[in-house]
């Protein structure tokens, strides 16, 4: 068991290492270095020399990579080009804001998805299923920037209920954020809930048609007792991994949603730093977002292991 956990963590670290290599090599191989892309037309003479000195671009690439990687492991991402301040300081409040947005969306989205998934599965092909499934197909296929734009148009402009965009500095407090994040949360959790509800639905349907559930029905176990005791634990377990992958996949959608609502989180920082051609920040973001992805998957793997007694005993026997 412990060995298995360590192995998973090791694989995650290898993945992160490859990600760091890819981003580093990618930036290196693509035309232009950090200084010439950042300074654009002013990239000559003293300004260029100073920038190269500051970023240490005059040393060989592998040395720079080692240096950078060691610093990242220590939690130091270096300096950003545009603000000329430590990237850690730039990132701090942004990470907090994105975390608030993401965790509120997840806290609303996951329970809602489970309930909707179970309802649609138990009333399969009946009216509740058809209605909910139609809505989920719409909300999971429509791009975030469209649903967000429509939300602003309808709720903020036509109805005038809520502010349409977030006008907050990136160091706003938690409570200042809360009143502003209702629409972004709806936009993000709409698509996330739809994806997860569909998976929970098919998972429950699969378990409902399994032999042991048929047996329970034949034995005369009361319907709801059967659903809660026999079906749900077995149906939700495989969904954990898929839910994790969905959350990680939605990181991209969060970027778009943050831009639409002008929300001062990591996503907007991605766009800002790329527009400013601030490559050190972009590299830091790539590592952070990839770590979130790997971390979520790791947690899901471990949860599945903990919750599934069969896997545990399998490992012990091995």
């Amino acid at each position: 068991m412990l060995l298995l956990i360590l192995k998973r963590i090791g694989l995650g670290l290898i993945t992160l290492f490859i990600v760091s290599l890819i981003t580093f090599v990618g930036v290196e191989v693509l035309p232009g270095d950090a200084c010439t892309t950042y300074l654009e037309r002013e990239a000559y003479g003293a300004a260029l020399d100073a920038c190269i000195k500051r970023l240490g671009l005059d040393v060989p690439a592998y040395e720079r990579y080692l240096d950078w990687a060691l610093n990242v492991v220590r939690g130091d991402f270096g300096y950003s080009l545009s603000g000329e301040m430590p990237i850690n300081e730039v990132l701090g409040p942004r990470v907090k804001n994105s975390l608030v947005l993401a965790s509120v969306s997840i806290l609303i989205g996951i329970p809602l998805a489970i309930v909707l998934g179970i309802i649609t599965a138990l009333w399969r092909d009946k009216l509740p299923d058809i209605m909910i499934s139609t809505v989920t197909i719409f909300s999971m296929t429509i791009p975030e920037f469209i649903s967000a734009t429509l939300l602003i148009l309808i709720v903020a402009i036509w109805l005038g209920w809520l502010p349409g965009i977030v006008i907050l500095p990136s160091d706003a407090t938690f409570f200042e954020l809360l009143s502003n994040i209702i629409l972004p949360v709806v936009a993000i959790s709409m698509i996330m809930t739809a994806h997860m509800a569909r998976m929970v639905r098919s998972s429950v349907i699969q378990v409902m048609s399994s032999d042991y559930v048929q047996m329970a029905i034949l034995k005369g176990v009361p319907y709801w007792k059967m659903v809660f005791r026999h079906v749900l634990p077995n149906a939700l377990l495989p969904a954990i991994n898929v839910v994790a992958l969905t959350i990680a996949w939605l990181l991209g959608g969060v970027v778009v949603t943050e831009v639409v609502f002008n929300y001062p989180g990591l996503g907007r920082l991605v766009i800002e730093s790329i527009s400013n051609r601030d490559l050190p920040v972009v590299q830091a973001l790539a590592i952070i977002l990839a770590s979130i992805y790997v971390g979520i998957n790791l947690i899901a793997d471990l949860m599945t292991l903990m919750l599934n007694p069969r896997l545990k005993s399998l490992q012990i026997r091995k």
């Binding site: 035309p31 898929v242 990181l251 991209g252 527009s275 992805y293």
Partner: protein, 297 residues
């Protein structure tokens, strides 16, 4: 002569089979709706340059932000351009980019996946690690980086999208190959002394084709989503080109009093994405492939 007949029969069978699949897809209302919507968009994309009533890039200060009328069916945008013209031409941009992008994704993803599934061992391990690593970089960050460094033109966008959306196909193709490779007919083909190429071409590809095609159809809709998100963020096709994502982002600031210029591209893009999704779902069901329990990675 006889050989000819056999190949002719084979061809006929293929066409008949394709018809059969189409029929199964259209037999359910969701599949029928999906097919109709996609067909509508494809036809519109083909004929739009000939039926567009105005020049898509003609700027005129006299016709700024007009409400929908008989002359301008969907109104005009903030530069006085006809929204109807730009909307129907926008579908052309979206379909061209994502069609060729999906083709590239299918080709490299499918081939690399089959290769990995076949050789197995160390090479397979290393390639899959790298694919996993690529999967864990959010698509938007990678695409933005490529596009911002190489420029925003369709020549960059198509291969970049194709590359990025192909990595998921690698996984599916590899898994399908793994399933097939242990089967008896591969072993017997080996025993008959067929070359590797012949085994790949005659035994493996026909058996993994369905899974890869279904995955490709699904990727198509995600690629469309990704492409229009890029355009929306200002990193997709460059401005005068009629594109839905770009139109929405331009018209968004003025939508409190000119909502029509944002509604038309929204309807266009949403209907196409939903249409492709429904079609891909129906396609998967017609081929007997269940992908509802998979994560959208």
């Amino acid at each position: 002569m006889e050989n000819n007949l056999i190949t002719e029969n084979k061809q006929k069978n293929k066409i008949e089979k394709a018809f059969e699949i189409l029929k199964t897809m259209a037999s359910k209302p969701s599949g029928l709706i999906g097919l109709t919507v996609v067909l509508f968009h494809v036809v519109l994309a083909l004929i739009s340059p000939y039926i567009a009533p105005y020049d898509y890039k003609a700027i005129s200060p006299n016709t700024m932000l007009l409400a929908p009328s008989a002359e301008h069916w969907f109104g005009t945008d903030s530069l006085g351009r006809d929204v109807f013209t730009r909307t129907i031409l926008g579908g052309r941009t979206a379909l061209t980019v994502t069609f060729f992008g999906s083709l590239i994704a299918l080709l490299w993803g499918g081939l690399l996946g089959i290769f990995c599934g076949l050789v197995g061992g160390k090479i397979d391990d290393v390639v899959m690690r790298v694919v996993d690593a690529f999967l864990s970089i959010p698509w938007i960050l990678a695409m933005l980086l490529i596009v911002s460094l190489l420029g925003t033109s369709t020549e960059v966008l198509i291969p970049a999208l194709g590359f990025f959306y192909g990595k998921g196909i690698v996984r599916v193709a590899r898994a399908a190959t793994h399933d097939v490779i242990a089967k008896d007919f591969i072993v017997s083909a080996r025993a008959r002394g067929h070359s590797n190429m012949s085994i790949i071409w005659n035994e493996i590809i026909p058996n993994v084709r369905d899974a890869i095609l279904v995955e490709g159809a699904m990727r198509w809709s995600w690629m469309l989503l990704g492409f229009s998100s890029l355009s929306f963020l200002g990193f997709g096709v460059s401005p005068p080109t009629p594109d839905w994502g770009l139109m929405i982002s331009n018209a968004r600031g003025l939508m409190s009093f000119a909502y029509w210029s944002v509604i038309a591209p929204i309807v266009g893009l949403s209907s196409l994405i939903i249409g492709i999704n429904l079609t891909a779902d129906a396609f998967a069901k017609a081929l007997g492939i269940d992908r509802s329990t998979k994560a959208p990675v």
